[in-house]
């Protein structure tokens, strides 16, 4: 079953051999920006989840990090 790990610490996920890794936002809130206004928070959440769905469709041979952080 393909799986994706969304995490604020991709290097830790990679060190234990996670295949598909998406750069999350912060450790307490990997999929959101509680510090931002509602629109920016929603955009960041969509970016993270879309990156995760994108990763699910990819064939990977080693820990691979997708980084949507440029969008938040």
């Amino acid at each position: 079953v393909p799986a994706v790990c969304i995490t604020a610490l991709p290097r830790v996920a990679a060190s234990v051999g996670a295949n598909r890794i998406v750069q999350g936002i912060k450790i307490p809130h990997p999929c959101g920006r509680p510090d931002a206004d509602a629109d920016a928070d929603r955009a960041a959440r969509r970016a993270v989840v879309r990156a995760a769905l994108d990763a699910l469709g990819r064939a990977v041979a080693e820990p691979t990090v997708l980084d949507p952080s440029a969008t938040w």
Binding site: A8, L9, R11, V12, Q23, K26, I27
Partner: protein, 426 residues
Amino acid sequence: MRLMLASASVRRIETGRARLTEGVLTVDPDAVVSAVREVPGISAAALDVVAPGDSTRIVHALDAVEPRLRPGGGGAYPGVDGPVAIAGEGETRRLAGAAVIVCCEVPWRNRGGLLLPREGIIDMSGPGAMYSPFGGTHNIVVTLSLVDNLDDEGCEHATRIAGFRAAARVADVLQSARDLEGEAFELAPAPGLPSVVYVYQIQSQALWARTFLYGQPLDDQLPLLLHPNEILDGALASGNQVYQNHKIPTWLHANSPVVRELYARHGRDLNFRGVILSRGYFYSDEAKQRSALFAARLAAHIGADGAVVTWEGGGNSMVEAMLTVQACERRGIRTSLIAYEMSTGDGAPLLFSVPEADAIVASANTEAPVRLPAVDRVVGGDAIRLRPEVGGVRVPAAGPLALEATYEMYCAANRVGAGQYEVVTW
């Protein structure tokens, strides 16, 4: 900067009229309790004296504070129990081998949250005693009750400040003490020896998980340089109660075995250049990397050839510790790390590691089950409280107890060299 630590070794503690005679410390419970009762938020306090070898278990342990006195005036822990002042110079007197242990069953309101004060257990005899350095000290246990409806900030402040008030009152006997044993701490020039720095990574995140430097919370602090005398002279105070096995209480900051060992070898094997105080628990990868790079930059700036790294807290902040080792090594600074293991028999014992971390001293295995026998006496409360994620499960404290891991054992997984474990080299 020259510090004189003048110590009275405590061999026994009694209660009665306060005095100190040939190693016997007599504590006046009424005086200590009334000092503690002045702290806003405290509704009642009780005092118990416990000694190594007693069939006694201390529960709900929060901070541990060494009773100290500055004969020149000012608080022993500047910025916390007195005006802000730079520690590490002049004379400080201490009751060596004694500790004030604050106990309180603080309300758990944030069910399921990580940052709440967890159970802390100290056994004074039997197999449980080795887990904690305070299984081997003479302890003045101050058990607190809080006023109703005190908010979390109030609970934290009251329980933290009470420890310093109690310790200060106990330490009053040092004002007229004689025959103290003096130790001088001064970093005389040590040319020709390898320069070594200690990177002391503490935990400071938020309420209940905080360390204070001269009274200032270190949340979000980037690494800074301290003289080791400041560490030994009360510059750091602990408000960290989230995991009692991982933490460094105030007593242990001021009695740091790593700082003392580096001092003992200064001028003989090495040139102890200072302490870089850093902080873990940054919430993003780049923030962790920034802190690690900054710590290594400071180490290089003061000419370190070698560094010893320790960290307070759990797996999150293991990342900063490892990245600090990596950053130091990449600057050509030979670096060793004191770490605990998280070994359950399968999988790696370290949550995260870097190839540069090739000199690691293991201090404990946090995941090892704990079996404690029944005891005759319990102080600090009458039950232990486990599993905050379901709001708390209470278990009679007198035991016997079977714990899944060391998380409740006070300072059992510290990485500053304190405890009564055997050391094995392999």
